[in-house]
Symmetry: C2
Subunit: 334 residues, 2 copies
């Protein structure tokens, strides 16, 4: 038979209310009694729920992850890295998909609070004041991955989006391309959208190609949006010989559009992506892209959260990880 | 200040130990006292953790989902469907990624138990006796999605894998193909592997094409494994003019291999996939495939679990959902 709180009280030689106090307000119980109750809980393997464990160790050994879009392959990589770190560090990982819906995001924060997760990793979305207030109010330690906050002192890990975009466009320019367009992020409050556009603008400006700066169309998250945006881009600017796409999925949509219009990639138009999704090496043609260390970002985020949970602080608040240009088949010299 | 258990006891006019008993063993408290405690908990918005809510309503309004591979696009679709159903039905959804690791799967079941999820959806993997015993032992109601159990009476929802594979191969035969190979699932204890192979064999046998039955190579989960398996398949059987792949990701790996060998798809070889991942319409060429109602499978699984949780049973134990042939660009008449 499963042990009850009564059995715990009996074994510890205290009243049920003392056991209850140990569980609900441990600071109000003297250390000697508290220890006996904890010993009894352990001895009897008393486990009404996550609760007891959390009170004994003051931890639930569970981390929460809030991601904005489970169908985006980018996050699958982040999750894998974070999970491997969680296994190494002894945590379970619970993932919730917010769809960038504010109400749902706040509701999942409540859920994490109720489930007593030790900490939360918040991925990619902007840290709205409501989110910050909620997490602080719930006293849930948290870190950001593939995001950062300018307003708040929050630990984060991401790549240098501006520099990475600059490197992508610089690469196209060095291949001899002079007519370069861009497919950018459309969604509101995108964290990585503005710096990636800034990198595009800086690379063009440095090379006297300012005439291209306005040649941008925007897409939402999916390749089909990028397909449509590419249609608009090439209808307006048929002179383009290269396109910088701010995501590999966009690059696939762009190439798919060009293929349907019998425009050769890379024969007539070079396309460079961003992310280095695991699919990017399988696409036809294989994508030239800016690799984010996706797995490592997830891994590092979990380590950073663990650092915060165990020491109360992190050594590096705004950590940047290295990106890398990967040249495959979708780009060619002009 | 946050209310404590003491405040609840005071307001309800009972002892702390009574409040504690209401929370830990509610059946031992007479109804009148129990109601007063619950009223006080509600009045004070007392919420030490998920616990109180769970005890008041006897529910945590959280469902758990165990998936074997977060990087597989198939599960992203299942998750989306399941989440939309959860939102409609008033549940939070917590996802854990098992990597088909037995120890980790069992550990996540413990986590779900501790976090008091109301029920669990178990996806795609085989229901090992240890899993069954664990879930039954924890008294967690559960249903299977994209899986089923022959040994146990467990509710499940999936497609008819045998018939779907049969339809795929029959389609290739009707296009005039006589030399047909297959890229199958390699992983141990695959639930859908054997029936998909059976469908392949049945379609061939019906058309007097038994000579193809052994022309199968196996791949693990990723396109690169299918790429390698296709190499082996065509090295051994260069006469093939069509390939049935048991997953869209495999079909992409197969096409990628053929492209690298300058074998035209569908010009020289037709390829048909399985799943209808959202990527299958973006690939070049766009994939002909057997569409699973991926989103609906996830949606239906959550509804089925809800049915089980609220009524204690399900109307249809082993539910099959409709699959559909989708003809795109990767197949052609022989």
């Amino acid at each position: 038979m499963k042990p009850t709180i009564r059995d715990v009280a009996k074994m510890a030689g205290v009243s049920i209310s003392t056991v209850s106090r140990v569980m609900n307000a441990p600071d109000t119980v003297v250390e000697s009694k508290r220890s006996r109750v904890i010993e009894a809980i352990e001895e009897l393997k008393y486990q009404p729920n996550a609760f007891a464990r959390g009170l004994i160790y003051r931890k639930s050994f569970t981390l929460g992850l809030l991601i904005p879009d489970i169908e985006n392959l980018y996050f699958a990589g982040v999750i894998r890295g974070m999970q491997d770190a969680c296994i190494k560090l002894g945590y379970s990982l619970m993932i919730c998909n917010t769809d960038r819906d504010k109400e749902r995001t706040l509701s999942y924060m409540d859920t994490f609070h109720e489930k007593q997760v030790d900490g939360v990793v918040f991925a990619s979305d902007i840290l709205h004041p409501e989110y910050y207030e909620k997490l602080i109010g719930c006293r849930i330690p948290f870190v950001l991955v593939s995001s950062h906050s300018d307003e708040y002192e929050v630990a984060s890990v991401e790549v240098d989006d501006e520099q990475a975009a600059y490197d992508a466009v610089k690469f196209l320019i060095e291949l001899g391309h002079q007519e370069i367009g861009m497919i950018g992020f459309n969604h509101d409050n995108s964290v990585s959208g503005p710096p990636r556009m800034a990198g595009f603008v800086r690379a063009l400006s440095e090379s006297g190609l300012e005439r291209n700066i306005g040649k941008i169309k925007y897409a939402n998250h999916r390749f089909e949006h990028a397909y449509q945006a590419t249609h608009e881009l090439f209808t307006e600017y048929p002179e383009l010989t290269a396109v910088f796409c701010v995501a590999d999925e966009f690059a696939m949509g762009t190439i798919s559009y060009l293929k349907d219009r019998n425009i050769l990639v890379p024969g007539q138009v070079s396309v460079i992506g961003f992310d280095n999704l695991r699919m990017s090496g399988m696409f036809i043609p294989k994508l030239t892209t800016i690799a984010q260390p996706i797995y490592q970002l997830g891994y590092r985020a979990a380590e950073k959260l663990h650092e915060l949970l165990t020491t109360g602080k992190v050594a590096v608040m705004k950590e940047k990880m290295e990106h890398k240009l990967i040249v495959r088949e979708s780009s060619r010299e002009k």
